[in-house]
């Protein structure tokens, strides 16, 4: 493999008492790849993602994220990734401009860089007339697009997206994916979870977790072939129905 890997995971495991939430998972994600991380509720996605973001220490195994070790260099990882979820995104009582400035500051950008980023994002998202509006006054779709842009304001190696498009209208949901493609073209690796199976088709590769293990990992085309299915929805149902453990 000549592509640069930005995530390398080997036998990564997390137990809570007797319960093995994440059970020896191994995979690699390359630079600029859009990697879909799927699984039923309770399959272990969130626990795995928290370990990769440096928020939870694994029980055993190995993982390097953006060149840093999840055991020893969790703080370094946090500085080199972006994160966004449906629940946590922006500060509602700050304006659009203030949110960009705040996150730019947190990620250690210089004043000049923050100014440039603010101008670029406001123009790129067509928010010129709203940059001084409070985020809470924005429609949900705009918020989510802005939240994604803010999550990558520091041009991180990887951005983790946890169900970023839940509840968003269908047009905005597609515009959101265009932002993902755009980030990927710029070399940012995108690690994304979703409950929309059509979105799984937009990923370069998709992994499906069942009961703490990665049960399948391939391109959408490859998965559909292996599981003799016409859609990712069908692939997912065939695999996820095998789950024994509850959530």
């Amino acid at each position: 493999m000549n592509k640069e890997n930005v995530i390398v995971v080997n036998g990564l495991t997390k137990s809570f008492g007797d319960f093995v939430a994440v059970d020896h998972i191994s995979f690699e994600v390359s630079k600029g790849e859009i990697f879909g991380f799927l699984g039923a509720n309770g399959a272990g996605k969130t626990t795995a993602m928290r370990m990769l973001c440096g928020l939870s220490t694994p029980t055993s195994g190995k993982a390097m994220v953006a060149g840093f070790d999840v055991f020893r260099e969790a703080e370094k990882i946090k500085q080199n990734i972006g994160y966004m979820s449906q629940k946590f995104s922006l500060y509602e009582d700050l304006t659009i401009k203030e949110n960009i400035q705040f996150y730019g500051g947190i990620y250690g950008l210089t004043k000049k860089q923050i100014q440039e980023k603010t101008d670029y994002l406001v123009a790129h998202l067509h928010l010129q007339n709203h940059q001084n509006s409070l985020v809470k006054s924005l429609p949900l779709g705009w918020k989510q697009k802005l939240a994604f842009s803010v999550a990558i304001v520091h041009d991180p190696a990887i951005v983790f997206l946890d169900e970023p498009t839940g509840g968003v209208d269908p047009v905005t949901r597609r515009e959101f994916w265009e932002l993902i493609y755009d980030a990927s073209e710029r070399g940012i690796t995108v690690f994304v979870t979703t409950h929309y199976m059509d979105e799984a088709e937009y990923c370069h590769r998709v992994s499906i977790m069942v009961d703490g293990r990665i049960e399948a990992l391939d391109t959408p085309k490859g998965l559909k072939k292996t599981y003799d299915s016409v859609s990712m929805d069908e692939v997912f149902l065939k695999l996820a129905r095998k789950a024994v453990r509850g959530e």
């Binding site: 509720n41 006054s137 839940g166 047009v171 059509d198 088709e201 149902l237 959530e247």
Partner: protein
């Protein structure tokens, strides 16, 4: 107020409901004159994204919120005047988990049964199918249940007094594809028992599980009909287009002046051309000229998401 000629077959009648909120100094109109009827025994879906007004509508119908204007009745009872009667007839599952976290599964269910002067035993038949799936955990506190189990318990609690109308506000939000399918199977079985079900969802694909749906966007209904009928009203020819480099293809299609709209749908883009004369061969030729490989263009029927987006765009014009 015009006297409404009530239709005996309608379980729910909603007439021109307007609901406004004040958020600090600005006024937000959550429902901009919504009207529809749900027949007795019907499984009726309110489909729309977050912020469309789904929860406001459900709160007006469950007598928890007063509308600025308009009327609504549940089985002939007015949501304002007859709220006491309505609360006995309705089963309601709010979007946010609203059971007692510190009570066990069984205690929650007993509590709701007692409030309605009934018992678990009396209406066990109605919930049996669903309750059996969580019964092994009946001594577990509700707060310690997984998302899917909470959802099943909430449904049992909403059903325990044998309501004739069931209102479910986004029961499948955040739930994975497998659990969503199971939940809809449960609703189909409840429907067989004659319960009228009004359910909201942000997932467009769930529209096909309903007898009829209202598509809701920004407080307005875009369309009300059987899902198949809504899709038949999509008038323009629709093309599914695919090529080896999908992102490059998207950029090209979006810049091509002959394209009216281009949206991604799984492994294809769904494309509407401005002119009906521009069909598969025109698209194919254009892409061949631009060196695309593995091009596929085929005519397809619109699905509910195609219809929703087309209606959204018309509403904005």
């Amino acid at each position: 107020m015009a006297k409404y000629n009530s239709n005996n077959m309608s379980a729910v009648i909603v007439e021109n409901i307007i609901k406004k909120y004040r958020v600090e100094k600005t006024e937000v109109t959550a429902l901009k004159g919504v009207s529809f009827e749900v027949a007795k025994g019907e499984l009726f879906g309110i489909v729309g994204p977050d912020g469309a007004g789904k929860t406001s509508l459900f709160r007006v119908l469950t007598t928890l919120l007063l509308a600025e204007s308009g009327n609504a009745t549940i089985e002939g009872h007015d949501v304002v005047k007859d709220y006491k009667i309505i609360r006995k007839k309705l089963g309601y599952m709010p979007g946010r988990f609203s059971l007692y976290q510190d009570l066990t599964v069984e205690e929650n269910l007993t509590f709701f049964a007692t409030i309605f002067n009934t018992s678990i035993e009396e209406n066990y038949d109605l919930i049996k199918d669903i309750y059996q799936q969580i019964e092994p955990f009946k001594d577990r506190r509700a707060g310690k249940l997984s998302g899917g189990m909470k959802q099943k318990l909430a449904l049992c609690c909403a059903l325990i007094h044998k309501p004739s109308v069931l209102l479910l506000d986004e029961p499948t939000t955040g739930v994975d594809a497998v659990s969503r399918k199971e939940f809809w199977d449960m609703l189909q079985r409840l429907k067989l028992q004659g319960i009228t079900i009004l359910v909201s969802t942000p997932y467009m694909d769930e529209a096909s599980m309903c007898d009829r749906v209202a598509l809701l966007q920004e407080g307005k209904i875009l369309a009300i009909d059987k899902p198949a009928q809504i899709n038949q009203q999509f008038q323009d020819p629709l093309w599914a287009v695919q090529a080896s480099n999908m992102y490059a293809l998207l950029k090209v299609m979006k810049q091509w002046e002959a394209v009216a709209s281009c949206y991604s749908f799984g492994e294809y883009y769904h494309v509407v051309m401005k002119s009906e004369n521009a069909g598969a061969s025109a698209i194919n030729e254009y892409l061949v000229e631009r060196q695309f490989q593995e091009i596929e263009v085929k005519k397809i029927d619109a699905n509910i998401e195609d219809s929703f987006m087309a209606l959204m765009n018309t509403a904005h014009e």
